[in-house]
Symmetry: C2
Subunit: 191 residues, 2 copies
């Protein structure tokens, strides 16, 4: 999606060859007009797939998921990051390693809000190792809901998460795919 | 706002006389069509106030803040919950006691995204003791931005946060104000 790639080139800050800061428009300050265009693009890509629920994870996925949900005309559920001691029988949970903070989070979704009647699109801001996405997928699978696919804002295709998940037949639509990035040389996108 | 009050009566679950669960439509599963009507109502209430930035706090404020921001045509900044060791000179921070989890969170906003050029509307899902709102207000004040007011989804007026903050001349527009609630007797709203 050219609009998002252009914005990343303009306002993203590359640190080393691995870290991309997009907190001026995506995950601390949020450009909701951009989110609206992203939502329209995911809607176009998943047109006719019968999506009736969007699943995301706190915190930075929530804004873009809610605005996308206006396009799909469906509710959003966000997975909460919690600790095992809070997990009850009423929740689906999965363990997710956080590369940002270190350590492991349990992510939790109430069983009431994911059911076999749901056709789920997962939306999140980043895909790199695939930890968070794999956690969300395992929760969808255990709920009996149908996983339609995933909509990702920025995928780092030089990490293996996206390829591994696609190899299991899961559809992922990433709006900007970064093949390489470097503080000096800048960012190269996949087509 | 009748639409929100009706929804709380229909789908809210009162536990004891103090806890209101609204996670089927507000803060776990999220009804974005409802959020759009709430955003329109805040826009109507703050029309002509020159709001050019919305500030909220992770996680459950983010969805309604982003959808309201579409009405206002402005960006959203969400305060992150962090730990003191992560606080640098680049962030405004405030301490907020969490009644849900116990303990104290530092909330953080990058100095880059709140400046004297900003006219800020704070949006959050709940107002009760006023802890989170007071933290956000103190961050806005230190940034030199103008605080236009706050838009709250549900205020528990039987707790003192709202009255205390209004007594300092700060405008708060709460879309549903709960005067009393009780597991048996149900919910009474202020006019």
């Amino acid at each position: 999606m050219k609009l998002l790639e252009d914005r990343i080139r303009k306002d993203g800050v590359v640190i080393g060859t691995d870290i991309l800061k997009v907190d001026s428009f995506l995950n601390h300050q949020m450009d909701v007009a951009l989110f609206q265009e992203m939502g329209k693009e995911w809607k176009r890509l998943y047109e006719g797939c019968g999506v009736n629920k969007i699943l995301t994870i706190e915190a930075s996925g929530i804004g873009m998921a809610c605005i996308a949900a206006l396009e799909f005309g469906c509710p959003v559920v966000f997975a909460k990051k919690g600790k095992s001691r809070n997990v009850s029988d009423d929740f689906y949970s999965a363990k997710v390693i956080s590369f940002t903070h270190g350590g492991t989070n349990d992510i939790l979704v109430s069983k009431a809000y994911l059911t076999p009647a749901d056709r789920v699109l997962i939306i999140d801001d980043f895909l790199a190792s695939g930890e968070a996405l794999n956690g969300l997928i395992s929760i969808v699978n255990r709920s009996g809901a149908v996983l339609v696919g995933a909509g990702i804002a920025i995928e780092k295709t030089f990490q293996s998460g996206g390829a591994e998940i696609r190899s299991r037949g899961i559809r992922i639509e990433s709006l900007a795919k970064i093949r390489t990035m470097d503080e000096q040389a800048g960012i190269e996108f996949d087509d």
